[in-house]
Symmetry: C2
Subunit: 116 residues, 2 copies
């Protein structure tokens, strides 16, 4: 946790870099809830909320689980994964070497600019 891999850090940053998702995190800190209720609270559509929740889940910031409500209905509950990411130049520099970004497809190994 203290030393996330570059890709993981990137996923977390990508997941948090959105106003909706920041609100979702804030809402889940207050209380764990199920999707439909959360959508009402945040005043966004369920479909949209689902997409955002998945992104947060993919980044490991929230977890999902099915639960049976008092009325016997199946609800999908989401809750926060306690996290603490320290963002400093040093921490970033430490994570960068472990980045496996697929965009390093560039040649140009000699360092000279030039164009074809």
């Amino acid at each position: 946790m203290t030393e996330p891999t570059g890709d993981q850090l990137l996923r977390q940053l990508g997941a948090l870099g959105n106003p909706h998702r920041l609100r979702i995190v804030a809402a889940l800190l207050a209380e764990r809830t199920y999707v439909s209720k959360l959508a009402r609270e945040l005043r966004i559509s369920r479909a949209l909320l689902q997409v955002h929740l998945r992104k947060l889940e993919a980044a490991g910031l929230v977890t999902a689980s099915f639960e049976i409500g008092e009325d016997g209905k199946t609800l999908r509950f989401y809750e926060l994964t306690p996290f603490s990411v320290v963002l400093t130049p040093q921490a970033i520099a430490a994570a960068v070497p472990t980045l496996t970004t697929p965009d390093s497809v560039q040649g140009n190994a000699d360092g000279k600019e030039g164009r074809p």
Copy 2:
């Protein structure tokens, strides 16, 4: 700095949520340099680097300044702004109320609500 506004936090997260920009930060931590040199080091085009640098600059993570090199040429140097952002659910929840996102301006305090 210790308590960034929601929008500021969002800008910082948005700025760091990209592999190129993470590498830029790491490179600038090692040494401050000018654009063309940095582009060669990172093996990306100058035009692309410029876009990314601007985003980092807009988020207040780096600063730019003109300088005269030893050979008398004008160079644009970039250097890191020391930053330390702690990313926790609590910190996010504290920043969320100050978000001024143009998507949904709401003020539902009690969280109970039906649908439109």
